[in-house]
Structures are given as C-alpha cells and as structure tokens.
Amino acid sequence: MPTEIATVTPYAIEEIRSGLQAGAKRAVDVAEEFYTRIDAENPAINAYLSLGRERALQQAQAIDSLASGGGDLPVLAGVPVGIKDVLVMQGTPATAGSRILEGYLPPYDATVVRRLEAAGAVLLGKLNCDEFAMGSSNENSAYGPVRNPRALDRVPGGSSGGAAAAVAAGLAVATLGTDTGGSIRQPASFCGVVGVLPTYGRVSRYGLIAFASSLDRVGPLASTVRDAATVLGVIAGHDPLDATSSLEPVPDYLAEMGKPVAGLKIGVPAEYFADGLDAQVRAAVEDTLARLRATGAEIRPISLPHTRYAVPAYYVIATAEASANLARFDGVRYGYRAPDASTLSAMYRKSRDGGFGAEVKRRIVLGTYVLSEGYYDAYYKKAQQVRTLITQDFLNAFNEVDAIITPVAPTPAFKIGEKADDPIAMYLADIYTVTASLAGICGISVPCGVSREGLPIGAQILGKHFGEGTVFRVAAAVERSLQS
C-alpha cells in the first residue's frame, strides 16, 4: 500500500471559470476528470461516502450550455465541490456518518447547497465525517475512517475529515464542512489545506443535520485562501429559513483579502503556547509570526485568561444541545428502525441502541445527565456562564488587536487508533479551537509549515464577529510568506 496519495496541482476556481468562459474547457469534462480521480484514489482514502453523478453532470451540462451561448458565467461555474454528509441534498443519501440514517434520502436541499448550485458549482458527492460530526479524528464514522492523504496511516482530523482529505487529495476543488468545536479548522490543519470557521450566523444552517445548534457553523475548505474566500462569499448571507442567520451585509472578501497587513495589530495569546504544545508546531507558528512582523504587522502578546476552561465548558454545552437535537432519531420518520420491537417505547430504545455508535451514545448520555433534574445549574448553567467569560476575553482582546494567531491543534496529525480509546485525550485535541466556537467569532486554519515527518502544520487566525475580511487578509499574508 502506498504511504501517500500522488499529488496533483490543484485547480483554482478562477482558472476553471475563465477556461469555461473562453471555451478552452467543458464543465462536463472537468467533472468527469474528478470522478475518474475519485474512482482511482477514494478507495484508499474513504473521503466520499456517495456520489451524485447524475445531478452533477446535469449541472455541468447546464453550465456548458450557458458558456456556449456566450452567457456570463457565475463565480463557481463548473467548479467541482464536495459536501460533508451532514448537509442535505434532495435525493442524495445523507448519513451524517451514522447507521441510524442509512438509506435516508432527504426531501429538500440545504440553503448552502442551493446557493452553491446557483453560483454554478458542480456538487460531486457527499463526504465522510465522524458520526453526527462528533469527533476529532474521523474514526467515529459508521462507514470507516478517512485516511490522511499526506500520510495514510494517520487521521485526517475530524469531524470534517472527508472534506479536508478530498481537497488535499485533489478529489474536489473546494468542499463544505461544518465546525462545532474545531471540525473544519483541525482537519484543514492536519491535511494541509485552508478551512474557514465563519462567524456564527454568517452562513445558514438550514439543511444541516444539527449537532449543537448554538455552536454549529457551515464553512468552506479549499487549497488557497482566495478560493476559500470565494466560496464563503457565495454561501454567506441572510436566510429566512434560519432564525439565527444574520442580517449583516456580506462584504467583498476578495477585496478585503488583497489589502496589505502592514500596520495591523496581531495578538498572540500566551495561553495557547503553554505545556502540551508540540515543539514543531510551536516553531512553525512562531516562524509565521516572524514573517508577518517582517511584512509590517505589529505582533503583540495578549492574554485570554479563561482559555483552559473552554474544553470542559464546551463538552457540557455541546453534549447538552446534542442530547436534545438527537432525540429526533427514533425510527419513526427516517432511517433505521429496529425490526423486533412490539411497542413504541421499545422501538425507540432498540432503534437508537442499534443505530448510534459509541461516541454518540457517550455524548447523548453526558448531555442528558448535565441537563437532568438536580444537575442543570451545577453543569449546564455553569458552563454557559463560563462561555460568557471566554467570550468576554475575546471581546476585550479585539479592543486592542485586529486579529489573533494561535496553533490550530497541539500536534500534527496523529496515527489512526492512537487516541481512539481515551475520550479525554481526544477532547483535549480541540483545546485551541473550542474557544472561538463558544465565542461565536470567526477564524481560519491556514497551512504554515511542515513537520520533519512531512506532516502539515496549520496556523489559526481568529477575528472578531463578522471580521472574516481581516482574517482572510492575514491568512493571505501567511500564504504569501510561505511562497516567497
């Protein structure tokens, strides 16, 4: 078995659109090229769970007709995009990585799916993930783990492991993932791609199979900051079908991205560089800071004093919300129903017992416990109060700095199986990402170096609420600094 996937030079979004516009290529051929590559490489990586060839090729043909008629092509015309399997597409299987949804064909499209197709994107298929997006390694998928294309014996990160691996392996130009506690940023870091955590409310959650509703975000992964910013520009904006969707106007992210970083104040929180941070990750992020300083950015030490309380607060809030959201999987309306139950309540129990995997049960039980009578104040309310303190840390910091830089994860990608039996060790892999999740702020994971073993290392850039423009601006500077 090869240890890594043959690398390909990724297509850029604009390269595809302009090629189609000029008549130099056809969207159908681009889609077929990606399907051929998926057929060849996916068995080793397990990034795609299902392919939607018919719908994808219909969309590609429509784009080709538009191009041959001389029409102006939309921004994502002909761009092959993969969708994490927690987002629904009408008539295409949606499993959320769970047995309990095996065979489910959603009767509607997620808002982000509609927006991507309206912008010309060709949606290739659905991407593997940890069951109900619960995990940091993609080992919790009922359909087998995803392997990291950069090192096949290692995890791609999670829960959007398929979304990150597909971009890294050239099996999609961009993908949509979801991030509740780090599930876009950490796999992006492990696979060496760019992953965006949009501000809470920036992107509609309509059609997202909910994990923790006050934390769940949908965001893009891509090979470059420019492509990630382009996709965010398409999917962002108010949606009447999501009551938490923001009315805040969507800026021109590419224009924001192009601005220089000279004069920007960038905060470096001491709490993110303490014990437990791998020396190579630390060195890569510190080198990044030095290069940003050389381009004229002002690097400032800051403090986010409640950082170490974020993982426990997160695991209380996220599991509490999950226990409520996952109550809907009961064998009545969709998915798996246990065949041998004679009463309704037995059918609920047996269907859920047979349909959910171990990590999902663990989180449902924990979430039910912290919400149960007598424990609500001690756990759930306490965690929500700590959430306020963590958010306040960020609001205070953004009075002094324009952006914050930290590592994404304490280590590069770990080996498959390494942490599978230790939930606390797995939860602590989220230590640098859950803070922004709780606060609702935006961020990005951008490649900033490679370990001696050849494993990608990412830097996390955080911005204030609706500060995506500044985040892209700094991320683009990090990207440029690696190329020069």
């Binding site: 009767p107 938490t244 009961d330 009463t343 047996k350 306490k382 306020t388 939860y427």
Partner: protein, 110 residues
C-alpha cells in the same frame, strides 16, 4: 451551590436513569465503559468550579453578546403560509407508512 462543593460521581443507577431519559438501551458492556468515561469527563468538567461566575450571565446564544438583540424580531420572516415539504417525498424515507401517516408499533403498553 458553593464553589467548594464536590460534584457527585455517577453511579450505575444514575446511568440507567439517564439512559432511560434518553431512550437508550445499554448493554452491560456499554454500561461499564460509559460509567468509566462519564466519571472521567465529569471529573475534568469539575474544574469549572474554580471560577467565580456569580456575576456572569448565562450565554445561550451568540447574538446575546453582540448587543443586537434590541429588536429580536428583525431576523424573523413574515408569518405567511408557504407550501410545506412534499408528503410523498417525505414518506418515501419512512420505515413504515400508509401513504398518509407514519406508522409505529403499539403506543399504549399493557
């Protein structure tokens, strides 16, 4: 609750009660590993009690800290009737249906 109170650890009876609330049927093996994991996670969570949160509001939604809750109806759509999901498509994914309703096993147990 005072800041120094030790949080109780989960007993097997607690676990069975909570599993019942969550409509989960746990095997003996699952009970054993869940009990161990739950107590380990709750021990980790107990460090939240180091913090004095008496003056911190409970945050349930991000919008609460953005100060834009002055008009909570701003993001709501107007209350007009629109077509719902197509019944046939919805029922197509149901484990059991009569074409109009979802069918389930006996509800009243005796």
């Amino acid at each position: 609750m005072s800041q120094t109170t030790q949080l109780e650890r989960v007993t097997p009876a607690d676990l069975r009660r909570v599993a019942g609330l969550a409509s989960l049927e746990l095997s003996v093996d699952e009970e054993h590993s869940l009990l161990r994991d739950l107590n380990a996670v709750l021990d980790h969570v107990a460090q939240l009690n180091e913090l004095d949160t008496s003056s911190a509001a409970a945050m349930a939604q991000v919008s609460e800290v953005l100060g834009n809750d002055s008009d909570p109806t701003a993001a709501l759509r107007t209350d007009v009737v629109v077509p719902s999901l197509d019944r046939e498509r919805v029922l197509a994914s149901a484990p059991d249906s009569d074409g109009i309703f979802f069918k389930v096993p006996k509800v009243i147990e005796r």
